[in-house]
């Protein structure tokens, strides 16, 4: 029950972040919004890190630089998210994001790229993606 609650709130926060960013960007601009929210998030996370000290910072040396740079993708993600919400609204934006996200994750899994455990595509995955696309089409009818 507690786990479901966390997951539920987590989802709400993700959408809230998108719509809040899109609201803020109307006032101060999209790149300003991305810069500001990432900066305040970074400072907050750093404060928490200094308190909880869960880091095995030595482990970082074993991580490929490419993976360490993954966070930089957020710049384009926030830009795309904010601009899409302005143009097509939150529901359609989130739906399209999820379809692309699940499809690519699955494509990467089935090819075993980036050293992820290789997984076979199965029927439920295709039906799931198919249903999601059908849902988007229904939203746009």
């Amino acid at each position: 029950m507690k786990g479901s609650f966390f997951a539920f709130i987590g989802g709400a926060f993700i959408t809230l972040q998108g719509v809040a960013n899109s609201r803020i960007s109307q006032d101060i601009g999209t790149w300003q919004t991305a810069t500001l929210t990432q900066l305040t998030g970074f400072i907050t996370a750093l404060c928490i890190l200094l308190v909880v000290r869960d880091g095995k910072r030595l482990g970082l040396k074993r991580v490929q630089p490419l993976y360490l740079a993954g966070g930089a993708l957020a710049a384009v993600i926030i830009f795309g998210n904010v601009t899409a919400i302005h143009q097509i609204g939150a529901t359609l934006t989130i739906s399209a994001i999820l379809i692309a996200q699940l499809s690519l994750t699955f494509f990467i899994d089935s090819n075993g790229w980036f050293g992820v455990a290789k997984q076979r595509m199965r029927l439920p995955h295709f039906i799931g993606i198919g249903l999601m696309i059908m849902g988007v089409v229904i939203l746009r009818l």
Partner: protein
């Protein structure tokens, strides 16, 4: 319309990449070191691109409201909730709920027109569309999840 849809698809593809990269860092470094690095990189990239495209204008925050400073903290709330949810439920069910909740709240806020969103009137068609998408998420995650875990 097409531009918006395309941008959302690109964003989603990048989210997928970022999740994979972040989990690689997480395996070695722990949740908060990872979160700090991810947000730090996001800041540097946004700042760099913003400076390149807007120059000095990046620093003109004329219409700034005090609460805008707090919005970045939502991202930290996301990390805490997801980590706890996945720890307690396992990834398959936790992520199914996260995605369902994301869609539900998007529909709610579109319908209410909050945060300066253009209000999209709530219709049975909207609800049906979102329910079909959620069904897709559940079939994908729960139906596809189990054998996958065995296989790996």
């Amino acid at each position: 319309m097409i531009v918006g849809l395309l941008l959302a698809l690109i964003a989603g593809a990048l989210v997928s990449l970022q999740n994979i990269f972040n989990s690689k860092v997480n395996e070695q470094a722990g949740t908060w070191t990872t979160t700090t690095i991810v947000l730090g990189m996001g800041f540097l990239a946004s700042f760099g691109i913003g400076l390149l495209l807007e120059g000095k204008h990046l620093f003109s925050l004329a219409n700034m409201q005090p609460w805008y400073w707090l919005s970045g903290i939502i991202g930290v709330g996301v990390v805490i909730s997801l980590v706890q949810g996945i720890r307690l439920l396992g990834p398959t069910y936790a992520i199914s709920i996260v995605l369902t909740s994301q869609l539900g709240f998007a529909l709610l806020w579109d319908s209410l027109g909050w945060f300066g969103l253009e209000q999209v009137p709530f219709t049975s068609k909207q609800l049906f569309g979102v329910l079909v998408i959620i069904a897709g998420v559940i079939v994908f995650k729960v139906g596809g999840g189990r054998a996958v875990q065995k296989a790996s």
